[in-house]
Each structure stands twice: as structure tokens, then as C-alpha cells.
């Protein structure tokens, strides 16, 4: 019995275990080792043990600043747009329309993010929205190649990842709890704050984590819509590994990003958990 269980566990976990070991743990270890090494004069990595690369991190301050302002901003913006949408889809729309609208939310995923981002170049570029704004007399506004353009691209690209976890959390919400709140004298807006919002926090947490973590590694959208002016850490990494071939410094930047990300995620989780439901099985979906 115990042996059969052990065997089942081995069978179930081996593929994923091998996968993660080969493609996550091993590369992470390599990156960590490289980050303490030196740049080979002809490019690449030269063995060594120095903290020089870490001391040099401020050289990429702009990339960190952009990532750490636009990733949280993008997450918050996506959350503010996604929550009402998810709420509508989960609690307000009739069953007939629900599936259709849910499909519409994921339709953008059917096209490559690259192509969709190019579409935004046109929309935000000189002949797009700015031309329209100028025509109605709002003056000459630069949109493309600004942090705003990157933000728009980010929110657009990552919205479905935020909508779905929140939708699922709200869908799971026992509607009789809202009736109970109303029965006990709570007007609708207050029962939203006291019941719906706290109980949907697991979805908010999951969605925000997904979006934030993926955003910190983002490089495509800043490259296309930021026009080389709005650099993310992801762009710095592309540059360091592929252009200047400074693998040691690149590794240090990557390690620093991972550490910062872990700290932010841990803090965020604590805050949300305190605010939201504390029951273990609704903690994380």
C-alpha cells in the first residue's frame, strides 16, 4: 500500500521534476555562478569570484526604475480594468451571453503579441490617436515611444491574465452570502466592500501575481512601443547577453531582478491575505 503510493507519486512527479531540474534549477544555478564571475575579453563568461558585477548594478538603474514603476502601475491598471469586467461577467451577465463574452476576452491571444503590438504602433503613432486628438483641437500630443505607450501595451496584452482568476473567484462566490448580507441590513454597495471584495481577494492575488511576475521579465512591449527610450530590465538583459555579450554582468542583473521580485511578491501576498479571506482553502486557488 505504502509502496504503491510511493510509486504513484514517483510516476506523477518525475516528468515535471526532470523538466524543472533541467530547465529551471540548472540554468538558475548557472546564472548565479556566472554573476560572481567576470566578462571574458572576447565576450561571454570567464570564471572568477568577484562582487564587481553587483557593484556595477547602478549602471542599469534606469532599466530597474522603469520595470519597478511600470510593472506595478501596469498591474494596478490591469486590475482596475479587469475587476469590473470580471464582476460583470461573473455576476451580472445572463448565461446566454457569458460564454460569448468570455471567448471575446481571450480572442486577442489568438494573434501573436508581436503583431498586436505593431498595431498599437500605428494607433499611438502620428497618424493614429494623436492625429485625432489634434483634429479636435487638443494639441500635438506625443504618445508612441513614451512610458504611457508601454503602459497601454502592457495592460492590453496582460488583461486576460487578470480577468480570468478574478472571474473564477467571483463565480465561485456563494450568492446566498449576498442575500444574507442584504437580509441583515446591508445596502448593495456596502455588501460589495464587506463580502464580495474580501472573498474575491484570492482571484485578485492570483491575477496580480501572474501579471506582475510576467511583466518584470517583459521586453517585447517596451522594445516596440517604447522605441528604445523606455527600457525594462528584460531589454537590459537582451542587450547584455546578445549585444555586448557581458554574461557575468547580465547574470548579476538577472539575479537582482529575481530577488527584488521575490521580495515584492512576498510583501504583496501578506498585504492581500490580511485584507482578504483567511480560510486556507481559499487562500490561493
Amino acid at each position: 500500500m505504502a509502496m504503491a503510493q510511493t510509486r504513484a507519486r514517483t510516476l506523477l512527479l518525475t516528468p515535471a521534476g526532470l523538466w524543472y531540474a533541467a530547465l529551471l534549477l540548472f540554468p538558475l544555478a548557472v546564472v548565479l555562478i556566472f554573476s560572481f564571475g567576470e566578462r571574458n575579453p572576447i565576450g561571454g563568461y570567464a570564471p572568477g569570484f568577484t562582487l564587481e558585477q553587483y557593484a556595477n548594478l547602478p549602471a542599469r538603474f534606469a532599466a530597474f526604475r522603469n520595470t519597478l514603476t511600470l510593472a506595478p502601475l501596469g498591474t494596478i491598471a490591469a486590475l482596475l480594468i479587469a475587476y469590473p469586467l470580471a464582476y460583470y461577467l461573473a455576476l451580472r451577465v445572463s448565461v446566454r451571453w457569458k460564454t460569448m463574452l468570455l471567448i471575446l476576452v481571450i480572442v486577442p491571444f489568438w494573434t501573436s503579441i508581436l503583431i498586436r503590438s505593431y498595431a498599437w504602433i500605428y494607433l499611438l503613432g502620428g497618424n493614429g490617436i494623436p492625429a485625432f486628438l489634434e483634429a479636435i483641437g487638443l494639441g500635438d500630443i506625443q504618445l508612441i515611444n513614451t512610458p504611457f505607450a508601454v503602459l497601454v501595451g502592457i495592460v492590453y496584452g496582460y488583461l486576460p491574465l487578470m480577468v480570468f482568476p478574478i472571474y473564477v473567484a467571483l463565480e465561485k462566490l456563494d450568492k446566498s452570502l449576498l442575500e444574507a448580507a442584504s437580509d441583515l441590513g446591508t445596502p448593495p454597495w456596502r455588501s460589495f466592500l464587506q463580502i464580495t471584495l474580501p472573498l474575491s481577494m484570492p482571484g485578485v492575488l492570483t491575477g496580480s501575481m501572474l501579471v506582475f511576475i510576467l511583466l518584470t521579465g517583459e521586453f517585447l512591449i517596451p522594445a516596440i512601443l517604447g522605441g528604445g527610450k523606455v527600457f525594462f530590465v528584460g531589454n537590459a538583459l537582451v542587450d547584455l547577453f546578445l549585444q555586448s555579450r557581458n554574461w557575468a554582468f547580465g547574470s548579476a542583473v538577472a539575479v537582482a531582478l529575481i530577488v527584488i521580485m521575490l521580495i515584492v511578491v512576498a510583501l504583496y501576498t501578506r498585504v492581500v491575505k490580511r485584507f482578504g479571506a483567511t480560510r486556507d482553502d481559499v487562500g490561493l486557488m
Binding site: S176, E179, L184, G185, G276
Partner: protein
């Protein structure tokens, strides 16, 4: 012991009712006035007219889909009547949302807030009041409410740590702490096991007596309704079939639906051959003649009779004075205090007879396959009104 108490309590109320009925201005805490409710093409409630008396324990009884829950939800304000109006304390509730109604509900699956402790759940209603109630006052009332449901030491617990019975007490405490005009109970016992249910029923009754609050219960369990209610409102197909005390409904069911739903009933068809005040001589399909009671003017000749299994007897030979029907015993089930016999009566079909232990001891035990006579005392049966 408690059951005996319930019995006398009910009888007292039943006799009060007769005099009350003569008083046109009854004290109604809530009323349904020509209330109908449509969900799309489905008519969930059809022309309900009902007054709920102050302080009574009223049950809506019926099978699922009969409209009983819809009626309760219209009282709570979760559903708006499509026609007619609901009144509470004499005022029309049409424009009053559920959060402003002086009623509270115990939900079928309790609907406790999972992200709050027991005390936070119980105090929830008080904490919604504006202007705000003093914290100390809330704490006192929570302690008292938890004491009422015997959960004194559970205030700090998480609701999902509690058993089903405890959760239900929390739901009850959360409702009664607000001192509602009417307490609504939506099948509150459905999720409890049989033993716990019996305890809870008794506790609910005690609570209702000590609080003096009007209780309105929705249930599909006829035993629950019979044992707890002052009055029962039997529903079927969105309509009220009959309203009355449990005894009324059992002894004087107005139609086949009610007779069938409340208690066990033999329903036989027959033809009236002679009428005399309150009585009718009826000939059954087998040719046997029985004397049954009948109320009100009725001109039908072909009628249906309800006769309760315990009103019949079994004899080896027909005894004088009783109408007798020849029958063969097909099933015999010993149930402790009484024995259930299922018989196939000649020309009539299956008939159930319940013999109390004593009667069986006197007449001797009957076996499956025995050819016997069903003994029918004068006026044991009752003519059923036509169903509309």
C-alpha cells in the same frame, strides 16, 4: 414529554383560533394579498392570499417546486411579486428592499460569512445599523445571542471549524440578534442528520416560545411541519391548497392533494346513495356501503373518500354495525407501537390499515395471505371536495 407539551400548546391555540376567526380584524404581522410571481413562463406563485398572525409558528409545506420558497423569498424581499403585494406590520413592502425589511432569514445552507469569526457573523446585523450601535452594546448582545443557541464559548472560532449543527445555531443567532418581526426559516433542518434534526426542532420551538417572535418555516417534511407548527399552509403548483392547524389538515383535508400530503391516506372512489345532515351513505365499487362524514353543500354523486389507516380495523368476520370489505393481506410491517397492514380489497384495490399494538393483541395477529374483513366504523371516512 416535550411533544406532549407541544400538543397541549397547539390545542390551546387551535381553540383560540375559532374565536379569533370570528373577529374580522385579526392581528396580522405579515400578509400576502393577491400575490403572484412569474419566472418567465413559469407561474411560481399563483394568487396567494394569506395572513400570518403575530407570534404564531407558520409552516409552508409542499413538495419542491410548489412555490413555498418563492413565497418566503417574497417576504424577505429577495423576489418582487409580479402581481399583488406583501405587507409587513400593515405596510406595503413593494418598494422596500430586503435590507430595510424587519425580517431575518435562516438560510438553507446557512450562508455564514466564511471570512468572519462566529462573533463577527452573529454581530453582522447589528454592525450594519446606522447610526452605529455602541461596541459594548453589540458585545453584550452577541454574548446573549450565543448563549441562547448554547455556543457561549464559540465566539472566536472560525465558522468553517464548526459542525453542521453548530453552524446552524450560528445562523440562528445571527438572525435572532436583530429581533426581527418575523423570522424566516428556509428548510433549515434539511442538511442535518435525523437525530440532530429532532433536537434542533425542539430547540427551535422552545426558542420561538421564549422569544415570542413570529416564525415562518419552509419545509417539504410533513412530520416537521406537523410537529412544530401552529398552522400549516399547504402549497401545490404555486397555489395555497389549504391553511389550518395540523389537526385540521389531518382530520379535515379539503382535497385529495392535502389528504395525500399530510399523513397516510386511503383514497377511495364511491357513489353517494343517500345524504343526511353531515353524513352520506356511500356505495363503494365493491358494492359495500359505508357511512362517511360530509361537510357543506355538494351535489356530486360520484365522490372520493379519504380514510386514515388508523381509522380502520381488521376482523376475521364482519362485525355488526361496521361496514365490512373483504380483503387479503399482502404485506405486514411491524413498527413497534403499531403494525402496518397492506391489504388488497376486493373490487377496490390496495388499502392500508394500521393496528395499534393493543388492538392487535386483542384480535390476534394476522398473517400475509389471510382472507379478512376490513372493519369500517360509521363516519370513519370523509368526503373529499372536488379539486379545481
Amino acid at each position: 414529554m416535550l411533544d406532549a407539551y407541544a400538543e397541549t400548546g397547539r390545542d390551546m391555540r387551535a381553540s383560540a383560533e375559532t374565536t379569533e376567526n370570528q373577529d374580522a380584524r385579526e392581528d396580522h404581522v405579515a400578509e400576502f394579498i393577491n400575490v403572484s410571481k412569474r419566472f418567465g413562463a413559469v407561474l411560481a406563485a399563483d394568487q396567494l392570499n394569506l395572513g400570518i398572525r403575530r407570534g404564531e409558528f407558520l409552516s409552508f409545506l409542499g413538495p419542491s417546486g410548489c412555490g413555498k420558497t418563492t413565497a418566503l423569498r417574497m417576504l424577505a424581499g429577495f423576489e418582487e411579486p409580479s402581481e399583488g403585494c406583501v405587507r409587513i406590520n400593515g405596510s406595503d413592502m413593494s418598494a422596500v428592499p430586503s435590507y430595510r425589511r424587519p425580517v431575518n432569514m435562516v438560510f438553507q445552507h446557512y450562508a455564514l460569512f466564511p471570512h468572519m469569526s462566529v462573533a463577527q457573523n452573529v454581530s453582522y446585523g447589528l454592525r450594519q445599523r446606522r447610526p452605529r450601535m455602541a461596541k459594548a452594546e453589540i458585545a453584550t448582545r452577541v454574548a446573549k445571542a450565543l448563549e441562547t443557541v448554547r455556543l457561549e464559548d464559540f465566539g472566536g472560532r472560525r465558522v468553517w471549524e464548526l459542525s453542521g449543527g453548530q453552524q446552524q445555531r450560528v445562523a440562528l443567532a445571527r438572525a435572532i440578534i436583530n429581533e426581527p418581526t418575523v423570522l424566516l426559516l428556509d428548510e433549515p433542518m434539511a442538511a442535518l442528520d435525523a437525530k440532530l434534526r429532532a433536537d434542533m426542532q425542539r430547540e427551535l420551538l422552545d426558542l420561538q416560545r421564549s422569544l415570542g417572535i413570529t416564525f415562518v418555516l419552509v419545509t417539504h417534511d410533513q412530520e416537521e411541519a406537523l410537529s412544530m407548527s401552529d398552522r400549516i399552509c399547504i402549497m401545490g403548483g404555486g397555489r395555497i391548497a389549504q391553511v389550518g392547524t395540523p389537526q385540521d389538515l389531518y382530520d379535515r383535508p379539503c382535497n385529495r392533494y392535502v389528504a395525500d400530503f399530510v399523513g397516510k391516506a386511503n383514497i377511495l372512489s364511491g357513489e353517494i346513495v343517500e345524504r343526511a345532515d353531515g353524513c352520506a351513505r356511500v356505495v363503494l365499487p365493491s358494492g359495500a356501503e359505508v357511512l362517511v362524514s360530509e361537510e357543506g353543500p355538494d351535489t356530486r354523486r360520484k365522490i372520493e373518500i379519504v380514510v386514515r389507516p388508523e381509522a380502520l380495523g381488521i376482523g376475521v368476520a364482519a362485525s355488526p354495525g361496521d361496514a365490512a370489505l373483504k380483503a387479503r393481506i399482502t404485506h405486514r410491517t411491524f413498527l413497534g407501537d403499531h403494525t402496518e397492514y397492506l391489504l388488497e380489497a376486493e373490487g377496490i384495490g390496495p388499502v392500508q390499515v394500521n393496528l395499534p399494538r393493543q388492538a392487535e393483541r386483542a384480535s390476534g395477529r394476522h398473517e400475509v395471505g389471510d382472507e379478512v374483513h376490513i372493519l369500517w366504523a360509521a363516519e370513519a371516512g370523509r368526503v373529499l371536495a372536488a379539486e379545481n
